[in-house]
Symmetry: C2
């Protein structure tokens, strides 16, 4: 674990670091000492560990709940180099879609491939972050929508430290298989007019989670139009389950 930056502003400490080749950010209360709940957030496609929605959410969780929040760059995103294999597959998928092939299963297969890399990467990030004295081995939550759902469902299914997860804007038969192995509480966000994820796929993914406590929040609007009030729900959800 190598730190590249350590700054504090408005009561929030932001540390940037690299662990196992993965650049990531960590936010904690400025004066934090001792263990606390930790949220790992997976960013959306084409975005990065410090995308504005990630930072806004992290600041709320740190300020209101005193939690630690960490966010790693996905391969090929943020401060990571372009990945030749992933780039090639993305270009091939684009060509197949232009030739009339259905894009949804191509994206699902692609995200499943990337998840084989990100699941162990994110587990490594949890390891090093929880070794820090101001984070410690408290309960862990996950937040991720869209790409963060495609990578998050296999991560939550594989990682026993995750006690609760907010996910959404995703759905595919591949993800349903992993979801059927998830038993922790899940809050699932679905956009009613999602132009990328068919409504039936999102509903089927919600249906597939084996969790006895799972709650679907569906709102009107397209893929990128989750209403701002869902951030309040995210804060309440984690407060309820990671206290």
């Amino acid at each position: 674990m190598r730190f590249t930056s350590d700054t504090t502003s408005n009561g929030i400490r932001e540390q940037l670091f690299t662990a196992g080749g993965v650049p990531a950010a960590l936010w904690t209360p400025a004066e934090a000492t001792g263990p606390r709940p930790l949220i790992l957030m997976g960013h959306g496609g084409g975005r990065h560990k410090k995308a504005s929605d990630i930072v806004t959410r992290a600041h709320r969780l740190v300020t209101e709940l005193g939690y630690a929040v960490t966010s790693p760059d996905v391969p090929g995103h943020g401060d990571r180099p372009a990945d030749e294999t992933y780039n090639r597959i993305a270009i091939e998928n684009q060509a197949k879609a232009e030739a009339g092939e259905d894009l949804a299963p191509l994206i699902a297969a692609f995200q499943a491939l990337v998840a084989r890399q990100t699941v162990p990467e994110w587990q490594g990030v949890l390891d090093v972050v929880q070794d820090l004295p101001h984070v410690g081995a408290g309960p862990v939550g996950y937040w991720g929508v869209s790409l963060g759902c495609g990578l998050g469902v296999p991560f939550v299914a594989a990682e026993p430290r995750i006690r609760a997860a907010v996910m959404g804007l995703g759905g595919s038969p591949i993800l349903e298989e992993a979801a059927s192995r998830i038993t922790v509480p899940v809050e699932f966000l679905l956009q009613w007019h999602d132009e990328r994820v068919p409504r039936a796929h999102g509903l089927a993914l919600f249906d597939a989670f084996a969790s006895t406590e799972k709650t679907l929040h569906a709102n009107p609007g397209k893929h990128g139009e989750i209403p701002a009030f869902e951030l309040d729900n995210t804060v309440h959800f984690f407060a309820r389950h990671l206290a």
Copy 2:
């Protein structure tokens, strides 16, 4: 408007009254003076104005938000006499269901009939309650699930004072028509394993609301098993829209 009881306990004033032949309850903060938001709650089938879930919810809204809450008895329920016509239809429907007819459309038609009576009754309750100095003409919200949804959708569609509504556990083509005339914010509760309302009917009713802000909360479990944390969401929802 004739008051039959006026008691105060734990900072909450409870007044029972009859208005236009409708027995109803009103809860307000003990020391309330001046106008405040008002919630009208419609109880479930076979229950009454002071059913335990109604009272629990009313107390939260009074204590945490300082709102007024009123709850009328539906015809044939609580302190109201049995209604011969409704009783006869209910018995006929039971016989039809036992003869193999689908019960859902029978219930929907029955609730639509009752709503022709309750919509003006509830408008009358709003009139007299808003004339009280400790309630006044503030913004109004509606809460009702199951029977409270079947009667609530036509009420919210007809009553321009309603600014926000929490409804759920309902769905039928008849209700969809009324829902298409509702434009205020709606929080809609759906039980994923509802044994009385087919899932597709609930999703179709949510789809039918013309509201630009509407949010579907779906949870596992049967008709009567809405999780306790949805009460928190109800409080937050009304606080956001009736402030």
